[in-house]
C-alpha cells in the first residue's frame, strides 16, 4: 500500500517532465515577451532591452530550459517576474480559495447528483427519469458565466442577499465564507452535478442489470436497501472516477468562475500570469496542476479500494 503510493507518486515524475517541456516550449517559442509588458505602457525599445537582459530572456533557449529544470529539481519554482514573490508562495496564497471552491462545489454536486442519478436509474424510462435527465443536460449545456451572471444579478444586485464578489476565508467564520462561496459554488456545481448525475445514472443502470442485484431482490430486500447498499456501492467506482475527472475538469470551470466572482484563486492567478507572460508563475502553476492531477488520480485509486475490496495494490 505504502509502496504503491510511493510508486504512484514517482510515476508522476515523467508526466511532469513532459508537462514541463510542453509548457516551456509553448511559452518560449511563441511571440510576446514579458520584458515589454513589464516596461509599461510608455516604455521605449531601449528600456525593454534593458529589462530583457535583467530577466535573462536574452540567453539561449536551451540554457534557460536547463537552468529552469535544475532549479525545479532543487524544489525552487522561481519567483514572479513582476512581484518578485516566490511562485510557491503565490500558489499557496491562492490555494485556499480554489480548494474551498472546488470542495464546496464537489460537496454540493455530490449531494445533489448522486441521489438524482440513483433515482433516475431506478425509475429508468419513466417521466421522473426523463425530467431529471433533461434538467441535467440543460444545466450541463449552460455556460458557467451566464449562470454566474444570472445568480449575481438576482441574489446580489436585485435582492442584495449575498455579496457580489470576493472571498472570505473559513477562518473569518462560516457565515461570511458561505455567503461569498455559495453563488460561485452553485454556478459551477450545476454543471458538475449534471455531469455527475448523468454518470451516476448510467453507472447505476449498469449495476442494476447485474446478477447480484437480482440475487439481492430474490432475498426479499426492499428497494432502498437494494439501491443504496447493493447497487450504489458497486456503482461507486465509476462514480468516483467521474468525481475525479470532474474535479480535474472543475479546474477549467474554476478559471471562469474566479473571473466572474473575483475570487483570488489559482485559476485567476494563471490567467493573469499568462496574459502578462509571467513565465515562472505559468510554468510553476501548470507543473503544480499536473502534480495535483496525479495526486487526485492517486486519491481516486485509493478510494476505489475503500469501496471495492477486489482492488488490491
Amino acid at each position: 500500500m505504502f509502496g504503491y503510493v510511493v510508486t504512484r507518486i514517482l510515476s508522476a515524475v515523467p508526466v511532469m517532465a513532459v508537462v514541463a517541456t510542453i509548457v516551456f516550449l509553448l511559452l518560449h517559442l511563441t511571440p510576446g515577451d514579458p520584458a515589454t509588458i513589464i516596461a509599461g505602457e510608455q516604455a521605449t525599445a531601449a528600456e525593454i532591452e534593458r529589462i530583457r537582459t535583467s530577466l535573462g530572456l536574452d540567453r539561449p533557449l536551451l540554457q534557460q530550459f536547463v537552468g529552469w529544470l535544475l532549479r525545479i529539481l532543487s524544489g525552487d519554482l522561481g519567483t514572479s517576474i513582476y512581484s518578485g514573490k516566490p511562485v510557491t508562495e503565490l500558489i499557496l496564497q491562492r490555494l485556499e480559495p480554489t480548494v474551498s471552491l472546488a470542495l464546496l462545489t464537489l460537496s454540493i454536486a455530490i449531494v445533489i447528483a448522486v441521489p438524482t442519478g440513483v433515482i433516475a436509474a431506478w425509475k429508468e424510462g419513466t417521466w421522473v427519469d426523463w425530467t431529471l435527465m433533461f434538467l441535467a443536460i440543460v444545466f450541463f449545456s449552460m455556460p458557467i458565466f451566464i449562470t454566474g451572471y444570472i445568480l449575481i444579478y438576482n441574489f446580489s444586485v436585485q435582492w442584495r442577499m449575498l455579496p457580489v464578489q470576493g472571498y472570505r476565508s473559513l477562518s473569518d467564520g462560516i457565515g461570511p465564507f458561505l455567503s461569498h462561496m455559495i453563488l460561485p459554488a452553485i454556478s459551477l456545481g450545476l454543471v458538475y452535478a449534471s455531469l455527475l448525475a448523468r454518470m451516476s445514472r448510467s453507472a447505476m443502470l449498469e449495476v442494476l442489470h447485474q446478477d447480484y442485484i437480482r440475487t439481492a431482490r430474490a432475498k426479499g430486500l426492499g428497494t432502498s436497501k437494494v439501491l443504496f447498499l447493493h447497487a450504489l456501492k458497486n456503482a461507486a467506482v465509476p462514480i468516483i472516477t467521474t468525481i475525479g475527472i470532474g474535479l480535474i475538469l472543475l479546474i477549467s470551470g474554476v478559471v471562469v468562475v474566479e473571473s466572474v466572482f473575483a475570487i483570488p484563486g489559482i485559476g485567476r492567478l494563471t490567467v493573469d500570469a499568462i496574459l502578462r507572460r509571467d513565465y515562472p508563475i505559468i510554468q510553476g502553476v501548470i507543473l503544480f496542476f499536473s502534480f495535483v492531477y496525479v495526486i487526485i488520480n492517486l486519491l481516486i485509486d485509493l478510494t476505489y479500494r475503500l469501496v471495492d475490496p477486489r482492488i488490491k495494490y
Binding site: M16, V19, L26, F145, P238, G244, V255, V271, I274
Partner: protein
Amino acid sequence: MSSTRIMISSDPVPAQASAAASRGRKIARWMLRNPRIAFGAALFGIILLLTLLAPLLSPYDPLQMNPMNRLKPPSSEHLLGTDALGRDVFTRTLYGGRASLMVGFSVAIAATFIGLCIGLVSGYFRAVDNVLMLVMSGLMSIPGILLAIAMTTLSKASVTTVILAIVVPEVPRTARLVRSIVLTIREQPYVDAAIVTGSSVPRILFRHILPNTAAPLTVQATFICASAIIVEAYLSFLGAGTPPEVPSWGNLIAEARNFIRLAFWILLYPGLLLGLTVLSVNLLGDGLRDLLDPRLARQMKARS
C-alpha cells in the same frame, strides 16, 4: 443500420407486429424510442438552417457598424436591437452560429481524427504505447482551458488557433478512448481469427478494429462538438478567443457581457442560441450513446 442493430442486443427481438408497420409508423416508433435523438436533431437542424440561411433572413451585414446607433433595444428595424457598435444583433446572432458551429465541427472532426490515429497506433503497437500515453497524460494533466488560453494568447489570434487550442486538450481523451477500444477489441477472438487467417496488420487495424471505434467516436465527437462550442465561449469570455472581427457566439457574448445591465438583449439571444445548440448536440450525443451501445458508457468512463 445493420451495425447499430448488432449493438443493441446480440439477440434481437423482432416483433410480429413490425412486419406490417408502414414506413411512417416505423419512423414514429423510432422517434418514440429515441426522443432525445429526434428532439436534438430537430433542434439542431433548425439552428443549422437558421445560420446557413442567415444572408436570406437578414438584410444587414454582420460587421456593418454604426456606433452612433448603439445599444438600441429591439425594434422593427432591428429585430433584436443593436450592440455596442451599433451592429444588428439578429444578424450577428445568426452569423455567429456559423462561426461557432464551424469551430464545434472542426474541433470535433480534428480531435476525433488525431485521437483516432494516436489511439490506434498506441493501442496496437506496444513499442510506442508508453511514450504516446505519457505525452497524453502530460497533456491531460494540464487543465484544458489554461492550455487553450496559453495557446491562443501566446500566438496570433485566429479561428485556426482557437480550433487548435480546443483540439489539443481533447486529443488525449479521444486517444485514450480509442486505445481502450483497441485494447479490448484486439482481445476479441475474431481478431485472433483474422491473425490466424493471415491478415496483415493494416488489414486488422482498418478492417477489424477501426469499425468498432466508429460508434463510440461518433458519440464522443458530438460531446466534443458541444464542449468546443462552450469552450470557445469561455475563451472569448476570458479574452482569449477568436478574433473579435469574427462574430462567433462566444465573441458576441463576451462583448455583450459589459452591457448586460444596459442592453441584456445583446447577450440574451446569442446566449440562448448557444445554450440551445449545446443542448441539442448533447441530447443527440446522449441518445446516440444509448442507441449505439449502452455498454459504451463504461468505455466513456474509462476514457480519462
